[in-house]
Symmetry: C2
Subunit: 305 residues, 2 copies
């Protein structure tokens, strides 16, 4: 399978954690299997947070074990601290994303730690990984990197400082997350360029939200400056419980459509992606779902890349 | 007022012609006045088609006369043939857009003429304009330039051929319209580059739809290759009655937000734009309206360009 970009589906983590209902473990497995069958190369399948805080994620270990049986799939998870990392390593995750909010206020609200305290969690996680038999990739996901609903504007130099500090603490990769959807295409290009100047291709991906409708335009801007890894969420599920007003990740279906229509190979089959979507919409019939392409269907004579 | 881009609001024409209800003339005037007060430099205020075909546009002459009283406003209209152009000239429109479908099937369905017959209408319109006291700008709006719901893919070379022919027939400007929303950012850049190679800056603007969610991404792509004039529609009203499935122009509110957030000056005040929106939503309470920014409000500490 030749791909020009890697899309990481975050719906089973970022999407499900925002819903009130809990998706039964067997249905999660069916959804993840359907996403993998559609060609998603990487899926963030769960989060290693205390189950009493996020009961939707209580089955994370079992889900990771199942996802590892799907051929070729990169199994990603989120861990908010070193304790979570230890569980993620034990479960066998291939990749562990640690949220590192650039906004101090958002960081305190989200993980009850300052950004610099989170750097120490990354350092400890890196140490734990060094002792483990498996060697999962550790990514620092710089959330609120383009704006914060509490603090407003975010300093680009603080994004750069934390990206450098996270790499120094042992993170392998940096992702930039527009947790609140406040990024604009010009800013996307600027911040990516500034971060890359310091850490080069350790900056791998972007995680974009569609709060103000700029999700795809921001993805295009990131693509135009060389980003080739994108998070997105099927049906646009997701958001952040501590970022009021933030709603919806970039919709996987629409992102795949945009890229394929441009001749950029995602390796993802849009018809099979629609089958996976049906599992979600059937599981949460009352939930708001997003996506232009799922609503109107593919254009006449559409030819994927 | 220094602007980096010109946004032409097409809601009073493209938006209203798609609605079942008819907006009373006085309310139209109030809406157009509110749009002009918000800073829209150009508004397409009506269409010179037979009133029995489009009763929503029966008051076009009166609306043009009123819009001409608004200081500094460029008053644009649509005319599907030379007969309409004659009426538009008589009414005093500053700019007349003539639809020239690149797709022969769409052209027949929309204006019952082939593209080459429409070239003759442009030639005759240009002759009429030459005899008139006023000298309105004539724009050929190349519809279905990026895809057709009937024919599917559209040949880029046919777009170029018709653009050249329209200029030769007397059109002053060419606009490229993605009537069906089928364009993608790569294609936008390619077609604009190809057309500009032949007619240079006679290619002025783009008219984009959001059918597949790519409206803003396509606008960004057009901006990136130098386009500085954009049509859009308040609340995303509009579409084309002969392009099934096509729904919604690019939303003015979201387009203005994207550009201003990027530091691109539109000259448009987002708060006043929201006031104009209330006139539309009050007039058509049952109608589907679009727009992310109107739904969630501006981000905290947002600073326009």
């Amino acid at each position: 399978m030749t791909r020009d970009v890697e899309i990481c589906e975050v719906g089973p983590r970022d999407g499900l954690q925002m819903l009130k209902g809990i998706m039964p473990t067997e249905r999660k497995k069916a959804w993840i299997a359907a996403l993998a069958a559609a060609g998603l190369p990487e899926i963030e399948v769960g989060s290693f947070v205390p189950p009493k805080l996020l009961p939707q994620m209580a089955d994370a270990s079992e889900i990771v074990a199942y996802a590892r049986t799907l051929p070729g799939l990169e199994v990603a998870v989120l861990a908010p601290n070193a304790k979570g990392t230890a569980r993620a390593i034990e479960a066998g995750a291939h990749k562990i994303t640690m949220p590192l909010s650039v906004s101090r206020s958002h960081s305190m609200a989200n993980v009850r730690k300052t950004p610099d305290e989170m750097i120490e969690e990354i350092r400890e996680s890196s140490r734990l990984r060094g002792e483990a038999l498996s060697q999962p990739v550790i990514e620092a996901g710089l959330s609120t990197a383009f704006g914060c609903t509490i603090e407003g504007r975010i300093s680009g130099s603080e994004v750069v400082r934390l990206a450098v500090a996270a790499i120094a603490a042992g993170a392998d990769e940096i992702g930039l997350a527009d947790t609140t959807g406040m990024a604009n295409p010009q800013q996307i290009k600027q911040v990516i360029t500034d971060v890359r100047r310091e850490i080069g291709d350790r900056l791998t991906g972007v995680h974009l939200h569609n709060t103000y409708g700029l999700g795809l335009a921001n993805a295009l801007a990131a693509y135009d400056v060389g980003i080739r890894t994108f998070d997105s969420s099927q049906a646009g599920l997701g958001g952040c419980p501590y970022a009021p007003g933030a709603s919806g990740n970039v919709v996987t279906e629409d992102l795949v459509y945009m890229l394929e229509s441009m001749g950029v190979r995602t390796g993802i089959d849009l018809d099979r992606l629609a089958e996976a979507r049906r599992i979600v919409t059937a599981a949460f019939p009352g939930e708001t779902v997003y996506g232009h392409v799922p609503a109107v269907g593919l254009p006449k004579n559409f030819i994927p890349a």
